[in-house]
């Protein structure tokens, strides 16, 4: 297969110790950033504890965590061809299904052009998600 031909031509390094050391150094740097960052953040901006839970007191602005904000904002915008809240909740599930089954949906050949198209999809979706997240955070 073309893979093996390329394997013989392409320069390789042994996993141990060369690449393993690369990874170990990167892991060490990342751990140091996390630990030192946490020590700084713990004093400057620690994770808070809001007032204790009160089932009878609904706060005015209740929002999910930031990584769900785009979904939250999206649910406010989606018009409902099917009446009721079910449609807004189904769209993310369908999107997740499309994502999971993507290798079976994308039957194109692997070319530079297909990579560029996919990068464009990522950029467009990324911008949409970013805008929705910001709107979700501020509204």
């Amino acid at each position: 297969m073309a893979d093996e031909e390329r394997k013989e031509e392409e320069k390789t390094i042994p996993f141990f110790p060369d690449h393993a050391l690369n990874e170990a150094k990167l892991a060490w740097v990342v751990i140091m950033i996390v630990v030192v960052g946490a020590i700084i953040l713990a004093n400057v901006m620690p994770p808070t504890l809001e007032p204790p839970a009160d089932p009878y007191d609904t706060p005015e602005h209740t929002k999910p965590e930031w990584y769900f904000l785009f979904l939250y904002q999206f649910l406010k915008y989606v018009p409902a061809p099917i009446p009721g809240p079910g449609f807004g909740a189904t769209v993310p599930v369908l999107a997740l299904l499309v994502l999971m089954l993507w290798p079976f949906l994308d039957l194109s050949k692997e070319t530079r052009r297909s990579q560029v198209i996919r990068a464009a999809i990522v950029v467009v979706v990324g911008i949409i998600v970013l805008v929705l997240t910001i709107l979700g955070a501020t509204s």
């Binding site: 990342v30 996390v34 809001e50 909740a89």
Partner: protein, 330 residues
């Protein structure tokens, strides 16, 4: 036979001598000779820590009758072991002009295991696998970094689960807050480095999600999901769902206003999915409302179910990568 008997007898004699040494020096002290803790507190400033918890003074405070030989012998024994170990490692890497090649403890251990289990051959295969230079670019590290963050979350999570109590009942010491809330306050204020551990866990959760998505984008753009790697991609999406599940279940655990209402809204939305929504809501909330039972369930999901699922899917994900090799770029 005689030599064997001698070796065993010497070993037993050495153990008995060590035990006698420790027992003689570790004998309990007459408590009346100790300085009471509050007097020490007056003489020595240990800051916020009571004398009993001070690292050095706790042995001298009233009520903990130990002598100083215990820690001394411990330091000497472990220190001697460390020095022997370091010496052997040094000798094995330095030029050794003697008759027989010096083997360090590492090498002897690997040989011993290899004679019995034949570990060298498969380990050689794993460790010497060639890595193409194209796979050493920075964006190939994102998956491994996600795994690193998973380990960090696991470690800080274990440290916190030693102290966290998943109960919504009012705390006996402060009835205005729940036991769970009080235990997190305890972690933040009383546990040594507790606030740092919790901060790492909080930001590590966000970081892991960012890295997982970045890794997914990298794989997506480079088309590394194509045959034969479809299952790899699917297991990856499952891992993303599991990571988001970790975030969602962990978010409820402080049992404060933000947690309670974010969970209520989130499960509400899940409940609106047609067909599967209502059973999903009942399963997640353990009832129709978010109650203490919900907290228990989310805790079990966060600490038992999702870790097991994560390990299972990660095992599959990594095995498949090993088997298929790294996808070659164009």
């Amino acid at each position: 036979m005689g030599g064997n008997f001698l070796r065993i007898a010497l070993l037993i004699a050495a153990l008995v001598a060590a035990a006698a040494l420790v027992l003689r020096w570790e004998k309990p002290v007459d408590a009346s000779t100790l300085i009471p803790a509050d007097e020490i507190h007056g003489q020595v400033d240990t800051g916020d820590i009571p004398v009993e918890q001070d690292l050095c003074l706790h042995c001298h405070a009233y009520g903990t009758p130990h002598e100083v030989w215990g820690p001394t012998l411990r330091w000497l024994a472990f220190g001697a072991g460390a020095l022997v170990f370091a010496y052997g490692t040094y000798r094995s890497v330095s030029l050794w002009k003697g008759r027989r090649r010096w083997k360090s403890f590492w090498e002897r251990t690997v040989e011993w295991l290899d004679e019995r289990y034949g570990i060298v051959e498969p380990m050689e295969k794993i460790l010497k696998k060639p890595v193409p230079m194209s796979a050493t670019r920075w964006f190939y590290c994102l998956g491994g970094l996600t795994f690193l963050f998973f380990l960090i979350q696991g470690l800080t999570g274990i440290m916190m689960v030693f102290y966290y109590e998943p109960s919504a009942d009012p705390s006996p010491t402060d009835p205005s807050v729940s036991v769970a809330y009080a235990s997190i306050e305890y972690i933040m204020n009383e546990v040594r480095f507790g606030n740092i551990i919790r901060t790492i866990h909080h930001w590590g959760a966000n970081g892991m999600i960012v890295l997982a998505i970045a890794h997914m984008i990298r794989v997506f753009i480079m088309g590394a999901y194509r045959p034969p790697r479809e299952l790899n991609w699917i297991s990856g999406v499952f891992l993303l769902i599991i990571t988001l599940g970790f975030g969602f279940t962990g978010y409820l655990l402080p049992w404060d206003q933000r947690a309670y209402w974010a969970t209520t809204v989130g499960t509400d939305i899940a409940g609106n999915i047609p067909v599967i929504g209502q059973p999903a809501l009942l399963f997640l909330r353990a009832g129709w409302q978010v109650t203490g039972l919900t907290l228990s369930r989310f805790f079990a999901l966060h600490v038992m179910v999702f870790p097991i699922l994560a390990l299972a899917f990660m095992g599959l994900h990594f095995l498949m990568i090993r088997r298929l090799g790294i996808h070659r770029p164009l």
